[in-house]
Amino acid sequence: MVSITLRDYSLIYPMFHGSARSFKKSLFKGVRQKLRDRQAVGGSIISQSDTTVVVALDTLSLDIVSGERVGLIGHNGAGKSTLLRAMAGIYESSLGTMQVEGEVHALLSPQAGMNTDLTGRENIRLYARVLGLSDKATKRLEEEVESFAELGAFMDLPVRHYSSGMAIRLGFGLTTSPRPEILLMDEWFMAGDSHFQEKARDRLTRLIECVRILVVTSHSLPILREWCTRIIWMEAGRVRMDGPANLVIDAYEAAGQG
């Protein structure tokens, strides 16, 4: 059964800055702290002046079952992308439990793992290897992406020479080729020229029809209305509202967020 289940799931994200990146300073600070603690009476407070701890996801409990098309909305920094990354297995946390049943594929950034020094074609081959495709399937992927991206001679040039639109076309064609059970998608797919956007929507719609669960973040409410059956409105790592698409989006717009 394809499903995503979260129980009291929290994710704490450390951000190091200043001397927190230095082993020497961290070590000395620890020793100094110990000495100070010995003199002080009472409990010890751990000073973490150079490490900011961000509670990106705060005791989330969710059940997403097969057939659901879930949209995540909320401010920048509400935890949407972090939640996607956690579901994709990139971020891990031992606080609470998360169970993802089913084969997951994540579209997190248009350059997802692409090496900009390699040519478009080489990137396709590398990606095919990441997906564990056979030689025959690799060939098929190559042809398919080539015809979709319409890069012409650029296909054999390093990706670093591409315009950003071209890079997105390649990345889009590549990452949307597998047919997973669970698709996680960040909002980057809105880029590109209008001709491309039409093609992209076509391709995405076909992809979405294949998957059992879709989780997508976006700021584009019309698209979410069209695609999603359920919207989760996130705020500061927590669920503010969760329900049928139109209901939540109306509330979201009413709150002046749209």
Binding site: Y91, E92, S109
Partner: protein, 265 residues
């Protein structure tokens, strides 16, 4: 996802090994990109090793009053083994995760894949730089014989230790960015106190203390057989013992840091 850290770390290692083909492709790509646009390609490695051996060989043979015929095979082999097998393996293990940050943030792949990638990369470099010692051996008609095959277990041990270095130094250097230069400085010192450009015999009676230098023991494990003498049991004992400790430490580090690596890189 509610598996224990031990199961997850073990799973990471197993699935990393299972995807060796991807790791090999990544390692090979690294080398290709490093030398893309140069006519000689990775043969630059061979050429630079050649220049280094030729210039150092002539000068140091003079300084140490040694015959080129004896000294040059030793020097060329030592340099090749040290530079690739020990120095660059350890040095690169520090950045094996931080350099793969975009990949780590983009998709779920075993972390140990990066360690295998590094081994593959260094194996390719090694294949290019070992040409010089082979050439020198042929030039001076030095033929070590079948005993040189005894260096293969040593090479295998190097690989295992290099893999472990990635799991130990990789997370540590990702968390604390000032460790990488420390390791570089340390390797610089190790280069001079280990018999690479000088021979252990030159220390005279005190050469027995060299056993305490783990780099020497590890070096002799591979270099000895190629030069025609087997390493002593003490050396093997020290090397294997230290490797077990090293790998143990590496696994413990990986076990404790794996879940947080994505935040650190």
């Amino acid at each position: 996802m509610s598996q224990s850290p031990l199961a997850l770390a073990w799973d990471d290692i197993v699935s990393g090994l299972r995807r060796w083909r991807l790791a090999a492709m990544l390692g090979w790509t690294d080398i290709r990109l490093r030398y893309r646009g140069s006519v000689l390609g990775p043969c630059w490695l061979t050429l630079s090793a050649l220049v280094m051996v030729a210039s150092m060989g002539v000068i140091y043979a003079r300084l140490f009053h040694m015959v080129l015929k004896d000294y040059l095979p030793f020097l060329s082999l030592s340099l090749a083994l040290w530079q690739v097998g020990l120095a660059s393996l350890l040095q690169e293990s520090c950045t094996c995760f931080t350099e793969a940050d975009s990949m780590i943030h983009a998709m779920k792949l075993p972390y140990t894949l990066q360690a295998i990638r590094l081994l593959v990369r260094n194996a390719i470099v090694f294949a290019h730089s070992i040409i010089v010692p082979i050439g020198v051996f042929i030039l001076y008609g030095v033929w070590p014989g079948l005993v040189s095959l005894a260096s293969l277990p040593g090479l295998l041990l190097w690989c295992v230790n290099g893999y472990a270095a990635c799991l130990l130094l990789g997370p540590f250097c990702a968390r604390f960015r000032d460790i990488t230069p420390v390791v570089a400085a340390f390797m610089q010192i190790a280069f001079y106190v280990t018999p690479i450009i000088w021979q252990p015999g030159q220390l005279g009676a005190r050469s027995r203390y060299l056993l305490l230098n783990p780099f020497y023991d590890m070096m002799e494990l591979v270099r000895g057989p190629i030069l025609g003498h087997l390493p002593s049991l003490t050396m093997i004992g020290i090397s294997v013992g230290l490797s077990v400790i090293w790998c143990g430490l590496a696994f413990m580090t990986f076990l404790r840091t794996r879940a947080r690596l994505a935040f650190w890189v």
